[in-house]
Symmetry: C2
């Protein structure tokens, strides 16, 4: 079994007010992507980082690097093409720097007998469906709803097939698991700590800093 | 038109590691509930605070106070019983101290022609439905999903009727709007800033402090 990590690092730094891509924004003295890179490197045989095409001069020296595609899932596909030896793929979003090794390991362990195992937390907000005019259509039963995160771990052959679709389909996917689901794959959820936050805004970055400090 | 604010302040301080109820935990030199109390007082003719029954000695001196019920919605019902003059009710959760006057006013304005107008933000996470074994059943179309917040503003007569149900129904409701929906009422969403966070954990409290500092 060859376990390959893929870090999707294609996000722009715009909402962080940064002039560099999001993955290269500094958090606690390191580039954002380096936090999860270190965690994945401890678990995977190899880690490939998919960076935005405009950042050739910023490419990390410490790892395999591929240039990302037009969408998040297209970037993952490019990374997979560079790792033909993979039998298990751990996809992780560079914007989730606080991921812990335990969660990655639990996702890999949960892959037994299924096609994918993905980190998720129970939805705690009340969620409603609305029409395009903003009228409430219904309130969902949140007890069966999960907000999904990364890592998302897949059998490599299943993920390769799921990603072999039109660019427009890749672009509309909000996570890789939904493409595997669409191809008929079985996915299980792995309960993740709420602390595995996604850094999108400057406030998130400050929260992540506070959490890293609290760890020490 | 008599606009009455109701602050639901019944939450326990347990997850905040506090020995007092959540609404009385100190944030930036004030009790948590006082932040939204001040905002509602600027917009409403009167504000009633529903406090936990075990906190009689902590009852705020500055406002109308009623003792809450067995559930969140039961507390709102108790507060409404103390405000027979209300024609419009602004329900707000004390755990959302960062609410701004503009949002409250926009909810009240949106009540025109409907039964309720509630603060909500678009869902940004990928959300999946799972079975009890944690197997993914489907990925939801998040473009029609909204995470609802407070304030939730209602016509008082409609809310009173919606709350006139069994305690078990009140206890299972995760927001007041769902009870109004169940009674056939029409609800519209009012887009709210993501900054109107709910304080649940100690981390949330630190985030709220950072946001209050950033305001000054």
């Amino acid at each position: 079994v060859s376990v390959v990590g893929v870090i999707a690092a294609g996000g722009s730094g715009e909402r962080l007010g940064a002039s560099v891509p999001k993955a290269f924004v500094v958090l606690g003295g390191r580039a954002l992507y380096e936090w999860s890179f270190e965690v994945l490197r401890g678990v995977c045989d190899r880690v490939v980082v998919a960076v935005p095409s405009e950042t050739s001069d910023l490419r990390p020296q410490t790892s395999d690097v591929v240039v990302g595609g037009a969408s998040r899932s297209a970037s993952v596909r490019n990374a997979l093409a560079a790792a033909p030896e993979a039998s298990v793929v751990v996809v992780h979003d560079a914007a989730r720097p606080l991921v812990e090794r335990d969660l990655v390991e639990r996702c890999i362990a949960a892959l037994d007998g299924v096609d994918g195992a993905i980190a998720a937390a129970p939805v705690t907000d009340t969620v409603k469906e609305a029409d395009s005019a903003g009228r409430v259509v219904r309130t969902l039963d949140r007890s069966v709803l999960w907000a999904v995160q990364t890592p998302q771990v897949f059998r490599a052959d299943v993920l390769r097939r799921a990603l072999d679709v039109d660019e427009s389909v890749l672009a509309s996917a909000t996570d890789d698991a939904s493409l595997v689901e669409a191809a008929g794959g079985a996915i299980v959820l792995v309960e993740a700590p709420r602390e595995n936050i996604k850094v999108t805004t400057e406030l998130d970055l400050r929260v992540a800093e506070a959490m890293l400090e609290a760890r020490c």
